[in-house]
């Protein structure tokens, strides 16, 4: 059993699954809340669409981390992590590197959806304030981006660091 590869794949899967779960729940909730508003006044659809899309970005970030991890562990290039004790450590490091995106994305997508929900109600009552609603929901995006950057830096630097340590 190649434990190193298993751990790394688990990390890549976690990053994409947790983010896609949270994003789909978030987008679904905001879209559900938007539908009575659109039914009342379909001209608000454009303003509401931005709010509906915002919690979806975490799913994409998770996918990015997952693809880069798969590239780094050699599953796409055909040069996988070796089944050695050093390989297990490398795999574990990739798993750890995926965690900030997995959990940061999960939490931020769900909380962003909640802010977007209040934004839907704001647009329903005061369509002229749609900019404020979008800005408020975008503030939560910052923390998804921080998670993305952290995971990205960790994932791309593991192979180089391990080589230097081995050398």
């Amino acid at each position: 059993m190649n434990w190193g590869m298993l751990l790394a794949l688990f990390g890549a899967g976690l990053a994409v699954t947790m983010n896609c779960f949270a994003s789909s729940k978030g987008v679904g909730m905001v879209a559900e809340a938007a539908s009575p508003v659109i039914a009342e006044d379909s001209s608000k659809f454009g303003k509401l669409l931005v709010l509906m899309l915002l919690p979806g970005s975490q799913g994409l970030y998770g996918l990015v981390i997952s693809i880069i991890t798969l590239t780094q562990i050699g599953i796409l290039s055909g040069d996988p992590i070796p089944s050695t004790s050093a390989g297990v450590v490398r795999g574990a490091l990739f798993l750890i590197a995926c965690l900030p995106m997995a959990f940061g994305g999960l939490a931020s997508a769900l909380l962003q959806a909640r802010v977007a929900l209040t934004g839907v109600q704001l647009i329903s009552k005061r369509p002229q304030d749609s900019g404020k609603a979008v800005t408020s929901a975008s503030l939560v995006e910052l923390y998804a981006l921080l998670s993305l950057v952290t995971s990205l830096l960790m994932v791309v630097s593991i192979n180089g660091t391990m080589s230097k340590l081995a050398g």
Partner: protein, 328 residues
Amino acid sequence: MGASITKYAYAVSGAHVYEKNFFRKSDMDKLLAAPSYEAVVAILQERGWTMPEDTRDSGKILDLELSRAWAWVQLSAPDPSIFRVLILRNDFHNLKAGIKCLLSDFDVDAQFCKPASIDPSVMKEAIENHAFNQLPAPFAELGQEVYDLLVRTGDGQMADILIDRKCLDEITKEAAASGVDLLKEEMEIYTATCNIKTAFRAIKTGKDGAFLEKALSTGNKTISREKLIACAGAEKKMDELYAYLATTSYSSGTKYLSSSPAEFEKWVDDQMLSLLLPTKYSPLGPEPLIGFYLGKEAEIRNIRIILAAKQNNLPLDVVAGRLRRLYE
């Protein structure tokens, strides 16, 4: 974010959209200033209210509108059963009205309250056929008991006590079972103030503690049933009652009890409504739907007062003083 409250996204958003059409204070002023009953009905019609064939029947207009709001709650809520407690008193009223009308040959249809969880036609059929077992618990057993009591003794007051107490007990039980804090708090105020009114009237009419033992409901946290009963047994009953109420959270409203029961009712309604106001901005959960329905009830209550005033040519200043706080 709890999993269950996220199911309310559609319902809450829809309720907030619906609420935009609620009457505000300025709209109530317009209704008050309308020259006649017909003018008020015309304004209601302009606001999209569905009208019955006979617009002279204000009860039907209001029942239709409240039933529409209730239908929305039932249609959109992920778990409609927890909201049943909001209309439970209508079912008990319908049971009481149905049995009394049957025994006194009055037209029962005009007495039924809507919305109700038991279809009034089902209630009517069960009562007319004396087939109370067609009704769900606790109405089957209670209906039979009250019917037998009225046939045997004709004691209308005891029949009222049995039904009203069971109603309050069930409301407390269902509110607790709902697990929704707002519902528990709202129903606590409702049932506790009903007990206060019962105790006040009983003491005023010289009833003793044994009467209150039968009449007062159980399960209140903000008022002590035992202390209310003890007041009826005291030497200076009314003074004891006021002294006790002054120690409760209802102390600021009890000053209205002696001057005007209608003022006390208004105070209770306003207290209940003020608890709802924070839910106006909640994006999820059952609370905004509770606020929506009780807010609609407050609006209907005010319009009922205005329509009655227009039909009876009552002075505007008296009517304005009776209007309740709105969900705005």
